[in-house]
């Protein structure tokens, strides 16, 4: 089956559940609701042979409502076709169903999303932090978390401090001068 046929059968089965379909240079993205995630995911894996979950990632649109987006990148090995799903999750809800029983690789990806963004997953077998330590009080990849970090202390486990950024994050001054002038050692923050 070619890509169009796959997507056509997907669109036919879930016509009312697909909120938006975008296509860009051969990449197809469907926006769906969080309630329909498991149904559509199971259909994609079983009927359409999207057997490889490439990635799950999350986006923080700080200031917009709903705040978070979760993006699923699927690939079908028999047909060599890519597909992308997006969900919107608002901050008050903050919970999505897990797909780790559909694609086992989702286990760690969802743990990373929980660790970095704070979105919880219903039915996840082991939802705990994966990069930071259990008990770390912040979610580092949110837009309101500063790049240099926030101080925290868990005695005997770990501690964090604020990193000196010297006016960064990008200390270079755009210009055509030599690299000695373009990249000062420190830069006063612009007020």
């Amino acid at each position: 089956m070619t890509g169009e046929e796959l997507f056509k059968s997907l669109a036919e089965s879930f016509a009312e559940k697909i909120q938006r379909k975008t296509e860009f240079r051969g990449e197809t993205t469907y926006t769906i609701a969080t309630n329909d995630l498991r149904e559509i995911a199971t259909f994609c894996r079983d009927e359409l042979a999207f057997d490889y979950l490439l990635d799950i990632t999350s986006i923080d649109n700080f200031g917009e409502e709903p705040r978070f987006e979760i993006v699923y990148a699927l690939y079908s090995m028999p047909h060599a076709i890519h597909l992308r799903f997006k969900l919107h999750v608002s901050e008050d809800v903050g919970v999505v169903d897990t797909v780790s029983d559909i694609w086992p690789t989702a286990n760690w990806h969802e743990r990373e999303i929980y660790d970095m963004m704070g979105i919880k997953f219903n039915g996840h077998p082991n939802l705990r932090r994966i990069l930071m330590w259990d008990g770390y009080p912040f979610f580092p990849l949110r837009k309101d978390f500063p790049l240099q970090g926030l101080p925290s202390e868990m005695p005997d486990v770990a501690f964090t401090k604020i990193t000196p950024l010297e006016g960064g994050p990008f200390v270079t001054v755009p210009s055509t001068a030599t690299s000695k002038d373009r990249e000062p050692r420190a830069r006063a923050p612009e007020l």
Partner: protein, 178 residues
């Protein structure tokens, strides 16, 4: 009747006896058999392995004995990025090393946090441990690590080991001699 002479040393071993200061001998022994505790955390560990391999032989300096038990080690080579998650574990291993012990911070990440100015990376292992030698590089070439090891050897040779470790004994000796 045979005559007896008192000599400073037995003529049979003449030429094979060296007089030296205790400090010098102790420091020579310590600096030429530094057993590293390889705290290889990231990419610098690969260069540490390369230094221990045959081309850049760290065994020339007596430091090929990389025991992973801190109880048997003299110098901890912190090679790699120290994240906050790992920081207290590194400190715990350092505390398990018996005296005398030294620390080499190998690479940019161990010295100052390197290119990782972020929320998760400790900005230099010297925030937790006393570092003796910093080696810059990302990663430092094996020759640079050997140069840092030689600098540590120079530092050890300058130590007043006996005075530091047995101060009361040194005081009594000085009193007895004056």
């Amino acid at each position: 009747m045979p005559e007896t002479h008192s000599t400073a040393y037995d003529s049979k071993v003449e030429g094979n006896v060296i007089f030296t200061r205790f400090d010098a001998a102790l420091n020579w022994v310590r600096k030429n058999s530094l057993w590293p505790m390889p705290m290889g955390l990231a990419c610098c560990a690969i260069e540490l392995m390369a230094t221990a391999a045959s081309r850049f032989d760290i065994a020339r300096f007596g430091a090929e004995v990389m025991r992973f038990s801190p109880r048997q080690c003299d110098v901890m080579i912190v090679a790699g990025t120290v994240t906050y998650k790992m920081a207290l574990a590194v400190k715990r291993i350092y505390e398990q090393m018996p005296e005398p012990k030294w620390v080499i911070a190998m690479g940019a990440c161990a010295s100052t946090g390197g290119m990782y100015r972020s929320y998760a990376v400790l900005q230099g292992i010297d925030q937790l441990l006393p570092v003796d030698v910093y080696i810059s590089g990302c990663p430092p070439r094996p020759e640079a690590l050997l140069a840092g090891l030689m600098k540590l050897q120079e530092k050890i040779s300058r130590e007043r080991a006996l005075k530091r470790q047995k101060p009361e004994l040194v005081e009594r000796l000085e009193e007895a001699l004056t």
